[in-house]
């Protein structure tokens, strides 16, 4: 595991925590995309996205609604396979594995690249079963091993003390924030390398949103995280890199990609500058 280099930077007002913000972690490419494009039928949603995601870093994707952020994430774990008339072209690799190859084991890929959705979506089962079911399906069957991993995942998301006495009650009875943390635990329990998060805080109340944000920040270094967010302050607080998506001539494109401080302090593009200053988007 690589520890991110921490450098104190100007502190952005945050009601719930004070933290050191790292400017950047050590660059070590893990995921690379080259000219990645995606179309729904004949509507092109993203066009020629080329970027590099570094291991252990937290990369935020920002941009106006409809600029293809979700579509981009879905390419990376091949969730696009579920959509009947969706075509992807270009290249995407994780280490040396070709993500878009028709012959790779998609289930293993998705185990390696977990995903958290905007709306918390625990399964209609007990808390225990929510975590046990994916583990068992991925071949972890020894009871003590399952228990150990479940407990570790729940501790990692700070849920263990809240739920350890009611593991057998329905996950749907948890609060929204707790459900979202359970969903993160459900992804963590499979020990992925990468976590894709699609606006993980935006369906939560401010307090839970803060808790989940702190959690995501704490996972940095241990996991490679790509987070889509509409909250620019959040991106500024937690991200090492920021990519700005913008829809130009219908299709979403990556207009700028740089370390967080560069994006916020010296944006190269006028659109980026306008967007982060809240003028457009």
């Amino acid at each position: 595991m690589r520890t991110p280099r921490k450098t104190p930077t100007p502190y952005i007002a945050s009601a719930y925590s004070t933290r050191n913000i790292a400017l950047c972690c050590d660059p070590d490419p893990l995921i690379q995309t080259r000219d990645l494009s995606l179309s729904y039928g004949n509507h092109q949603a993203i066009k020629n996205i080329s970027l590099t995601i570094h291991r252990g870093c937290l990369t935020a994707i920002v941009g106006p609604s409809g600029s293809g952020k979700t579509s981009f994430l879905q390419c990376l774990n091949r969730l696009t396979d579920l959509l009947p008339d969706c075509t992807v072209s270009g290249r995407a690799t994780i280490e040396n594995l070709d993500i878009l190859s028709p012959t790779i084991d998609v289930l293993q890929l998705r185990r390696r690249i977990g995903m958290i959705f905007q709306k918390p979506n625990p399964f209609p089962m007990s808390i225990q079963k929510n975590l046990e079911f994916p583990l068992k399906e991925h071949g972890v069957t020894a009871t003590h091993l399952i228990q150990e991993r479940i407990q570790r995942a729940l501790m990692d998301v700070g849920l263990w003390n809240e739920v350890k006495d009611r593991m057998d009650t329905s996950a749907l009875r948890l609060s929204g924030g707790q459900q979202q943390r359970l969903c993160i635990a459900r992804a963590l329990v499979l020990s992925p390398d990468v976590l894709l998060m699609d606006e993980p805080c935006s369906a939560l109340d401010p307090l839970s949103s803060g808790t989940v944000e702190d959690l995501i920040f704490s996972l940095r270094g241990q996991y490679t995280i790509i987070i889509v967010t509409h909250n620019l302050a959040q991106a500024h607080r937690i991200a090492d890199y920021v990519g700005v998506f913008w829809s130009q001539a219908q299709a979403g494109e990556l207009i700028e990609f740089a370390p967080t401080h560069a994006i916020f302090e010296h944006p190269q593009q006028d659109l980026t500058a306008a967007y982060i200053n809240g003028i457009r988007g």
Partner: protein, 284 residues
């Protein structure tokens, strides 16, 4: 309307709704009460444990209970897997707009509204004659299976379609196979719909007379194999009240037994649904 009259209006609609609901309840109890009043005097252990005698006027209904049970068993053993399979195929493996799905769906809807006597004629031509099964419990059960399949498939399919799409996407995002998602996630979540389909199908089957007269026949002897003809409870009631003078008492008693069977099956299915989805229900 001012506040006061709004209140009166509210009270009025509440009263009407309660009255209607109450009347419906009364209707059920009146029906049951009448059945019990006329049927109970004739009901006894012998009635359950003895074969019919004197064209059903005396004796009991053992052989008829056995035939009914066997026919329903065949019907459900055949219809459940086919119905569940078709429903899963329609909801999980074809888009709702796919021509095959639309075609199958339409056909099922038409079949669901076909009068049962038509199924009887079909069953007679196909199972009894073409397949050479004759008037038999097997023919009757298979005909009933054809008859309840549309209801079973449609309710189950709707149950699957009603499940949130997120179940499928979040399961896929965890690298779970389609098979595992279906078995461990979607199927348990759809069980209530399955049970409703099962009860509706069973209800239609157990009340059936027209389709069975042409296929399982109405021999009231104790069946010795599935190839024997057998008479079901509803055919027995029909025969006693239409063709047997002085058979009314026995008809009422048989009807009472039939109702009890339906109620038992109903509550059994409810209980099973609750039991299987225990962790879920317990907490919602």
């Amino acid at each position: 309307m001012d506040k006061h009259s709004l209140f009166t209006y509210d009270m009025l609609s509440t009263t009407i709704i309660w009255t209607v609901a109450g009347l419906l309840g009364c209707l059920f109890f009146w029906l049951l009460g009448d059945l019990m009043r006329q049927g109970i005097p004739h009901l006894s252990w012998e009635f359950i444990s003895e074969p019919p005698a004197n064209a059903g006027r005396s004796g009991g209904i053992t052989s008829i209970l056995v035939s009914t049970g066997l026919i329903l068993l065949i019907c459900m053993v055949v219809a459940l897997p086919i119905g569940l399979g078709t429903a899963i195929f329609l909801s999980e493996y074809t888009a709702e707009t796919h021509p095959l799905a639309t075609f199958t769906g339409r056909s099922l809807d038409v079949l669901a509204s076909v009068p049962s006597i038509v199924f009887g004629l079909f069953g007679n031509a196909f199972f009894c004659q073409l397949l050479g099964l004759g008037f038999s419990i097997l023919s009757g059960g298979l005909t009933l299976a054809c008859m309840v399949l549309p209801i079973l498939v449609r309710t189950t399919e709707q149950g699957f379609r009603a499940l949130p799409l997120e179940y499928r996407t979040s399961a896929a995002a965890l690298g779970l196979s389609k098979r595992a998602t279906l078995i461990h996630l979607l199927l348990p979540a759809a069980i209530p719909a399955l049970v409703v389909g099962f009860i509706l199908g069973l209800g239609r089957a157990i009340a059936e007379t027209a389709a069975l007269i042409f296929t399982s026949g109405y021999v009231s002897r104790m069946p010795t194999s599935l190839f024997d003809s057998g008479r079901t409870l509803s055919i027995h009631i029909y025969d006693l009240s239409m063709n047997v003078p002085g058979g009314d008492q026995a008809a009422y008693a048989t009807a009472l037994v039939l109702i009890l069977c339906v109620l038992t099956l109903n509550s059994l299915a409810q209980w099973m649904a609750k039991h299987w989805t225990y962790t879920r229900r317990m907490n919602i």
